[in-house]
């Protein structure tokens, strides 16, 4: 069985290798190869899952060491996989959603001559992501971690001829790098603290280490998570990442990669449990981001950017939950999975809409699409209901649990977090309703594209609709299924552990509150966008709106605080290097030359001058000799 784990990663990796090195001759069937291998990986995952269910819940984890990777002195890193319930959850999510999106892309990328490479990148992503969740030590995880970063870089910038895309890709990679530094420092800390960075020994021995060290490690891990999961303050890249093809946004920037941070924190639960300060930092980041993202989501007219904001906010929920410790881990992962379904669904829906509207992304130029693309409408609608937490649908179960847990944190902290979570729920309801209304309801606000041709909305091909349906099913039932006699909780508990906090409010009360704010949000949105017609061009809007349109000035801040000074610094240094460092050297050379020029003037060609120098020389010689004797 263990050997199968390797195959999980190998299959998509093989795909990537084939497609990227295969050359043009594979253009015809590249997408099939990619899809098949993704599916294969999913099948293997399923097999392993079945096999795992077969075993008792406490010896479900598998471990397989492939080879010793970097052995230098005390530093030992292996390429070894560990498959426990947590990893398995991710494996299924990644391969499952991944496969669906491969299928979807077959249709979506049909007209792109670089489709083969697109699928190559997708497979590369799958491989890296699986490596990330299957690694049995932090260094190998780091490989996957940067691997997905690379894949996302390649995919965001897939349409490289668009400067905006290239820039967005670069931005994503750089910002992630900042996070990665956190991860690498965390690993170094672990090495100096425990002498190893393999999950098992580290996590089982945290109690030996001082809290200070653990806090440091925790904060560094959090930094890493912020980068990958687009949490404040490293969230700025996610919005721009929407430059990538929509399937990419769906898979990487909604369902899987961006949730890696949640995985990291949950996986390192033992460390955080022992470092309360780090946990506080985590929940703060989570709470801030869930509001931040939500607010941004309200202001965006670009449908994908709106969804991106929502992603940010939803991951905020997860991080918040994960920061709560044992109370929240399970729910964080649960929300992660459900979110994987409905957010992927929503993105695919958005993609389908854009597909129909000549790649128009401005929601203000949509409207009344429900008649033209029913399937999309329905699936999108179900996703919508799920995300706002409509009772019974996936989002309801998972998000509700998180809010409860937030309150259950107890004390003022609990109240603050719970409040934030509730508020977030309200805003979520608002902006998602807005998206829904702007896109599918109201009257047509279509405009011809640059080519001047009117959009002729039509339902997308089945290769695109089927995945959407599947995901829709997931977003409807997954949550309920998980919550059915806490099956999901039982499933994960052996790995993450779980504890019921002492909630000041009853579950019912929380649920009730959630419903209320939900309704408020929806109502507000309907009043603003449902009743009166929507202008094609966005009104100036309030200060907050305008700020939110600019991602709450995050980019402006970065520009002023980092980019500009950086540019000045580099320019300055280039000057310094040329003038100063180099100048010293050239100066010395010039100095010698000048001295030489002056000295050779003495050689004036007059024999008598030479005689003088000899005479003087002799005098000096004599004087010196006598002097030597004198002293």
């Amino acid at each position: 069985m263990e050997n199968l784990i390797g195959l999980l990663v190998a299959a998509p990796l093989l795909g990537a290798a084939l497609l990227l090195c295969g050359g043009r001759r594979l253009d015809g069937k590249g997408h099939y190869i990619g899809t098949v291998l993704a599916a294969a990986s999913f099948v293997i995952g399923a097999v392993l899952f079945a096999e795992m269910l077969g075993r008792g819940e406490h010896d479900r984890a598998l471990h397989s060491k492939v080879f010793s990777w970097i052995p230098v002195g005390g530093f030992r890193a292996d390429v070894a996989f560990q498959l426990d319930q947590l990893s398995m959850t991710f494996v299924l999510l990644i391969t499952g959603v991944g496969t669906l999106i491969h299928i979807y892309s077959i249709g979506y990328m049909e007209h792109d001559e670089r489709r083969r490479r697109f699928f190559g990148y997708l497979n590369l992503f799958l491989a890296a992501m699986l490596l990330l969740v299957l690694a049995d030590n932090y260094l190998l995880l780091y490989v996957g971690w940067e691997g997905v970063g690379l894949a996302s870089y390649l995919l965001i910038g897939f349409w490289q001829h668009k400067p905006s895309a290239a820039t967005a890709a670069k931005k994503a990679f750089i910002v992630n790098r900042v996070g990665d530094v956190g991860l690498s420092i965390a690993i170094m800390l672990m090495f100096t603290t425990f002498g190893t960075f393999t999950f098992a020994p580290v996590l089982t021995n945290v109690d030996h280490a001082s809290e200070g060290k653990l806090t440091a490690i925790g904060l560094m891990l959090l930094l890493a998570a912020c980068g990958k999961s687009a949490q404040v303050p490293l969230q700025s890249w996610l919005g721009d990442a929407m430059e990538g093809p929509t399937p990419v946004s769906a898979l990487i920037h909604a369902a899987t990669m961006v949730t890696a941070g949640v995985y990291l924190i949950t996986r390192s639960g033992a460390i955080f449990n022992a470092a309360p300060d780090a946990q506080t930092a985590v929940v703060t980041v989570g709470a801030v981001t869930l509001l931040f993202g939500a607010i941004v989501g309200c202001a965006k007219d670009d449908i994908k950017k709106a969804l991106a904001g929502s992603t940010m906010s939803q991951i905020g929920y997860m991080i918040l939950a994960a920061g709560l410790g044992p109370i929240g881990y399970v729910f964080a992962i649960m929300h992660l999975v459900t979110h994987g379904f409905f957010k992927a669904g929503l993105f695919l829906g958005a993609g389908s809409v854009m597909h129909a509207m000549n790649d128009e992304v401005d929601m203000r130029k949509y409207g009344a699409l429900r008649k033209y693309m029913p399937v999309t409408f329905v699936t999108f609608g179900l996703g919508y209901l799920a995300i706002i937490g409509f009772p019974g649908l996936s989002g309801f179960w998972s998000k509700d649990k998180i809010i409860e847990a937030a309150f259950a944190k107890g004390g003022t902290e609990g109240w603050i977090l719970g409040g934030a979570a509730l508020l977030g729920a309200a805003i979520t309801a608002y902006y998602m309703t807005r998206v829904m209304l702007l896109t599918f309801f109201g009257e047509k606000r279509w405009v011809p594209d640059e080519a001047g041709q009117e959009p002729h909305p039509h339902e997308s091909p089945s290769s695109m609709t089927i995945p959407m349906m599947v995901l829709a099913v997931g977003s409807v039932f997954a949550g309920g299924l998980f919550s059915l006699n806490d099956s999901f909780l039982k499933w994960l508990e052996p790995v993450t552990g779980h504890s019921h906090g002492d909630s000041p409010l009853s579950a019912a009360a929380v649920t009730g509150g959630t419903m209320v704010v939900l309704l408020i949000g929806v109502a507000l949105a309907w009043m603003q966008y449902g009743r009166r017609p929507v202008p094609r061009t966005a009104p100036r809007g309030s200060l907050l709106t305008r700020a939110a349109r600019r991602d709450l000035l995050q980019d402006d801040f970065n520009h002023v605080a980092l980019v500009k000074p950086g540019q000045y610094l580099t320019r300055g240094l280039v000057y310094v290097d040329h003038k100063l460092v180099d100048g010293v050297v050239n100066g010395t050379a010039a100095g010698v030359g000048g001295l030489s020029g002056r000295l050779r003037k003495l050689q004036n060609g007059y024999a008598r001058t030479y005689a003088v120098s000899m005479f003087g020389g002799t005098a000096v010689l004599i004087a010196a000799t006598l002097l030597m004797r004198a002293v």
Binding site: K65, V72, G74, I174, T192, F194, V202
Partner: protein, 554 residues
């Protein structure tokens, strides 16, 4: 008297140089093939060395020792340890690719007056082989004087390579290019000559010291190390420090370490891409190698004394180099500054005085060689196509030449040490090694990681992506010859990134020995935990991963 393998490895390219130079002016192609053949022969010999070398064996192996200049206490002493073997292998591997990549670089320009005596092509390849010979022997030398001789003599062929066969794609007037080129060549030579002469003073001093202490002056590394260990040879710490500085200065110029680096961008910018690779990937390694072998082992005390200062300089190099790379407009200069940043990492690792640091530094030398070669050679192909080194003259290349762009990207990713590619392993080891002794330095050094991403991606974005520039539109993709050059390098990058163990196994014993000479031990983890493989359940994997055990308890 067994077959003098090491001598042969060094003589083969030298012989090749002579033969190549002797090829008549007309048969340019023949000269190229001869050169390639000899470089491959060298590669074969190096492979034999690699095979015959036993990592677990004696400190120095395949040793040869003959009397040479008695009066100077100089012996012809060769011998290799793991570090040397790795670097010899690197050199032997790279040279054939360099030759292949420079296949047409020395062809006479059209309309050049036919001149039966002037044979640039022959000269070009002969000089490359000459450099290889000298580099190899200076890796093998265990006699300080012998090493010094080739360390210095190396400059001359390098100098002619830089000054004689400059990059024709200067994007400037022929006059301007010529002056720039000879400026670069002279700068290169004077910098290194100055360093070398300072070192000469130190070498003389070393002789004086050994002559006083041991009766007869000697340059034999082993003798001196043993004498020090045995306490027969105790230098006054002031003397030791002066000598150390003399040696280190030369190596720091060669490496190059901030602020002695400014010759590198000029040299790499003006030289042809293959020669630039020769400089940064092969010749400069002699500097870092020598720090590890001579500075640390001859003057352990002084090395420890100087460590803080050197670490700080290394840090400055890392960040300064990266920032300047970001600020460059010239592709090759950018890569040069990137190399400066990387050499900072190498030196950081060497003086961290930890197994990880020095092991990492050694791997870094190899990996940096390969990665820079990949990046720089592809850049060279790009530049020869467009005839300009300025970044802003490119754009959208990936549209017209996807393979070129792809290989360029991989080279770049290696340069920013992406996990999975070779440089990551070494860079991380260096960081860990530094961090475990000097946490602050380790953390600061990580800034280099981010900056590396910046300069690589900016370069890639500006040249390869975006709308296709008109001048670029007709650019052909990589040709077969070029692919033959690049593909193996990339394969090597991936292999060494995924499975560096073989290399590490060769290097580790040598590193341990160096550590013992400077008698330093790795700092012990605060709470060492025995890595008991996997959780208590899963008995089989207990065995499976028990050699991943003993987590840092050394």
């Amino acid at each position: 008297m067994s077959f003098p393998l090491l001598t042969a490895t060094a003589v083969a390219p030298a012989l090749g140089a002579v033969v190549t130079a002797a090829v008549p002016a007309a048969q340019r192609a023949a000269a190229k093939w001869v050169a390639l053949g000899f470089s491959l022969l060298t590669l074969a010999l190096a492979a034999v060395v690699l095979v015959r070398f036993d990592p677990g064996g004696a400190r120095f192996q395949l040793t040869e020792s003959h009397a040479w200049i008695k009066d100077f206490g100089v012996r012809y002493e060769l011998g290799v340890d793991g570090i040397a073997v790795a670097l010899i292998a690197l050199t032997a591997v790279l040279i054939p690719f360099i030759i292949l990549a420079g296949w047409h670089d020395a062809d006479p320009l059209e309309g050049a007056r036919p001149n039966s005596r002037w044979r640039p092509t022959q000269g070009f390849f002969a000089l490359i082989l000459m450099v290889e010979a000298m580099v190899v022997i200076s890796f093998e030398a265990t006699d300080v004087f012998l090493f010094y001789i080739f360390f210095e003599a190396m400059l001359i062929p390098m100098y002619f390579l830089i000054g004689g066969f400059g990059d024709r794609a200067g994007g400037r007037s022929e006059e301007e290019t010529a002056t720039q080129r000879s400026y670069a060549a002279v700068k290169f030579l004077l910098y290194n000559l100055a360093g070398g002469l300072i070192m000469l003073a130190a070498v003389v001093g070393l002789y004086a010291v050994t002559a006083d202490e041991l009766g007869t002056g000697t340059f034999s590394l082993q003798e001196i190390v043993q004498a020090r260990a045995g306490g027969h040879l105790d230098m006054a710490s002031s003397t030791e420090r002066l000598l150390f500085l003399g040696f280190f200065f030369a190596f720091a110029v060669k490496a190059p370490l901030w602020p002695l680096h400014t010759w590198l961008p000029n040299a790499m910018g003006e030289a042809t891409a293959p020669v630039a690779v020769l400089i940064t990937a092969v010749v400069d390694k002699v500097g870092t190698f020598a720090m590890l072998r001579f500075c640390l082992q001859l003057f352990p005390e002084a090395s420890k004394w100087a460590t803080p200062a050197i670490m700080i300089l290394a840090l400055i190099s890392i960040i300064y180099g990266a920032l300047l790379a970001i600020g460059q407009r010239d592709i090759k200069r950018l890569i040069a500054y990137a190399s400066i940043s990387h050499f900072g990492f190498i030196i950081l690792g060497i003086f961290a005085m930890t197994t990880q640091g020095q092991g990492g530094a050694t791997l870094y030398m190899v990996n940096h060689g390969v990665s820079t070669a990949a990046l720089m050679l592809v850049a060279g192909f790009l530049i020869t196509r467009r005839g300009s080194r300025l970044i802003e003259d490119y754009g959208g290349v990936q549209k017209v030449a996807p393979v070129l762009a792809g290989t360029f990207l991989i080279g770049g990713l290696a340069t920013l040490s992406l996990p999975g590619l070779a440089p990551f392993v070494s860079e991380f080891l260096v960081l860990v090694g530094t961090f475990s002794r000097y946490p602050a330095f380790g953390v600061i050094a990580t800034v280099g990681i981010v900056l590396a991403a910046l300069y690589v991606l900016i370069l890639y974005q500006r040249t390869m992506t975006g709308p296709v520039k008109a001048e670029v539109r007709s650019m052909p993709d990589l040709r077969v010859r070029e692919l033959v050059v690049v593909a193996p390098l990339i394969a090597l990058l991936i292999f060494l990134g995924v499975y560096p163990k073989p290399l590490a196994d060769i290097v580790n014993p040598a590193v341990d020995h160096t550590m013992s000479v400077v008698d330093k031990k790795d700092p012990r983890p605060d709470h060492p935990v025995t890595d008991a493989g996997w959780f208590t359940y899963s008995p089989k994997s207990d065995g499976a991963s028990h050699d991943g055990a003993s987590g840092g308890a050394k």
